[in-house]
Symmetry: C2
Subunit: 477 residues, 2 copies
Amino acid sequence: MGRKGEVQVIQTEYRYQQLENWLLQAIAEQRWRLGERLPSIRALCEQQGVSKATVQHALQRLEAQGLVEARPKAGYFVALQPRAARAPRNLARIEAPRPVTVSELFLDIMRRGAAFDLLPDLHAGDLPPGIVALNRAIGRALRRQKGDDHQYYDAPAGEMALREQLALHGARRGWQVQPEQLCVTSGCQHALFLALMACCRKGDVVAVESPGFYGVLQLLEQLELQVIEVPTSSETGLDIDALERVLQRWDIRACVVSPAFATPSGALMPPAARQRLLALAEQFDLAIIEDDIYADTAFVQVPDPLKALDTGERVILCSSFSKALSRDLRLGWIAGGRWHERILHLKLVTQLASSRYLQRGVAEFMADGSFAAHLRRQRSELRSRRDRLIASLHDWPGEIRVSTPQGGLAVWLELPEPADTLGAYPRALEQGLVITPGPLFSVSGQFRNCLRISFAHPWDGRRIEALNRLPELLLPS
Amino acid sequence: MGRKGEVQVIQTEYRYQQLENWLLQAIAEQRWRLGERLPSIRALCEQQGVSKATVQHALQRLEAQGLVEARPKAGYFVALQPRAARAPRNLARIEAPRPVTVSELFLDIMRRGAAFDLLPDLHAGDLPPGIVALNRAIGRALRRQKGDDHQYYDAPAGEMALREQLALHGARRGWQVQPEQLCVTSGCQHALFLALMACCRKGDVVAVESPGFYGVLQLLEQLELQVIEVPTSSETGLDIDALERVLQRWDIRACVVSPAFATPSGALMPPAARQRLLALAEQFDLAIIEDDIYADTAFVQVPDPLKALDTGERVILCSSFSKALSRDLRLGWIAGGRWHERILHLKLVTQLASSRYLQRGVAEFMADGSFAAHLRRQRSELRSRRDRLIASLHDWPGEIRVSTPQGGLAVWLELPEPADTLGAYPRALEQGLVITPGPLFSVSGQFRNCLRISFAHPWDGRRIEALNRLPELLLPS
């Protein structure tokens, strides 16, 4: 490939190298686009008049460069290209702690955007086999109700059978947790609410990722907590240096962080940053609220939770089944560390209990391996959807930057200035499209030229058509 | 019956009078105890050698005196006797507003007592047909899930089909409510939490019934609200005169009241008191939080809610299916009046949404008449259980006073001093019995000699045996 002006003398070129170069060129010309399947090995043999071993050799070399991806029993697919890997810049400024005021427009966006979908009226696709199995397990649990079971409230911590399964699920990620350290909630937002209520008091300052999850900002507003936004990269997550400067300057009670595929950035926090975060928590007497909700969507390997490293019981892990299984279950969990008893009390006082038959059904679904099978199927599906989305962004005019998350359900886009995604929101809505503008992920007016786009839903024709309408809505012509 | 020493000259006595007196005597001697069935009309004809018309005449006279009760197709039953009708006295003192501190022991009691059962490990009885129908309806709703339904969150207000059914249910009680004015919650405790969070701010004073529901006291503590307890009678509920004096003296933000079969008193607030309460709310700019959870258990007629009289949108009605249908559903509702939008926002921020398939199942269960049928069956069952409980209290030594609620799930007992129900709690627990001591229903240490006993569960042999062990535990020998 050589630098410009350099004379390349290629004495001999093996057949596999010729094939490799031909494939590289064809991918660069987008003969097959990101996420699309290459011709089969047999087809390549025939087309190029080479042996199977030669084709395999060339493909393995491309795979090693990260340009194609092998999927068992499916073939080779075009993987991320250099252009797509240009990540959004780290834009967030650091501003002093402040109370949170979320506008009415933001509330409207949050209400609609909760569906995580550009086209929320589409309702396409088939019920995945995992959901069919889940519904059957819940149905069986319902039919097993007997006597006056229905006359009892569950214990506030939740059904032991489910907590046992959750503990096993944690153990697979290097997290040794006892069922007694867990509390079942009505989803992750409920868990975050309990966590913040347990470790903060009105007026306390909470550090959050910027850009970060709007649901947390809304909670801070309602609980009358102050916020400080810490710059967050779409590759490595929360900027620990920035956090340290913030902690040295202000008195911070808690930090909400999403080390695994944070929304909107999709970042995965590296191990060293995790260690530093916990050391800072110890040094500055911080509570760490870990939003772990996207971990199970990991495309390759589910990362260990931050909580697994938590020797000081300072991490409150919050999660739910909403992103990796079903948003309609309304089941989540929280591991409250040193705040566990207080969290149980708050769960009891604000909601009494969760439904036992539902928890039993989900516990059985986990115990018989159906949950793991569902996650396996879903991961490659999600990765394809991500690739399909990023590929289509290549057609957008102008210079855009996009995250390439290894898990989660969305990419984060940085559009050329002066794009105004918030201004585009009502125009999109007129066309039946719900977009998630960048400023939703901050309270300081940043990220006006940024946008989160979800790949949670299948890219059927109408959704692709909707996606293709976005450049006109978003980009200055 | 005459006073002692009085000479009774009975000139003539009709046959029906003779029979009436004979029945009165037999009831007084407890030949049939409270709640038991009298011999059939045919059997009485044969035993007493009288005509059917004579028996009917005598029974109707006893019924008019409230001593027996006719139940269609079942016969005549011994109803409340004068001794049983001696209601607990109105003991509550008025003390200045104060912050709420609930002890750890209270928390333990609340956790265990949530089961509302003396013998929580018994799990006796059969699944009622209403619950079987409910579970089937939920199962059908699960099976109807399709496409990517599971990928969407419900709107914060909840599923329209359920809100429509709840509005119809309200209309049958003289309450004209639109589905758009309702919000679905995770039970009544969750509704009460949303209500208090919506209309109060930290430090505000909230008036509550005394004795009143411990769940509210716990909520006030967690939300850092102050409480003022207003004396409450076991017959007419909240003492409106006392409330007026309280309002004249202190600045009160909200009043939590349970006009229909309040726990623990079981009181039903008379119409005039309701009108006065709403007038006071208007005069003193009060929010009224109506806990309506027991209304559907009414033994005779479901009373109209206070909310039906609320022209100023000052009443926030909170309820759920937990008492009249199933505690494991975890479904409730709230009609927030002028605070409706704020409540929707709080629901969204603290929990996002409720489960749609579950709401659809319950909506169908209501729409096909199964809920109404369940309530009809349950009412006479609950009344019998109440009567059976009160009858057994007759055997307790000493002078006890007991409420005779016309709905709800519990009676309120006043034991002779120096009974100490709180002191008896750990002793009862050692025997596997969970009692609900009076002081739980107040934060001021009152009601030490009082006790709530539930009749929510069937009186099978073991539960009766448990009940019979209470006098020894509770009464000073």
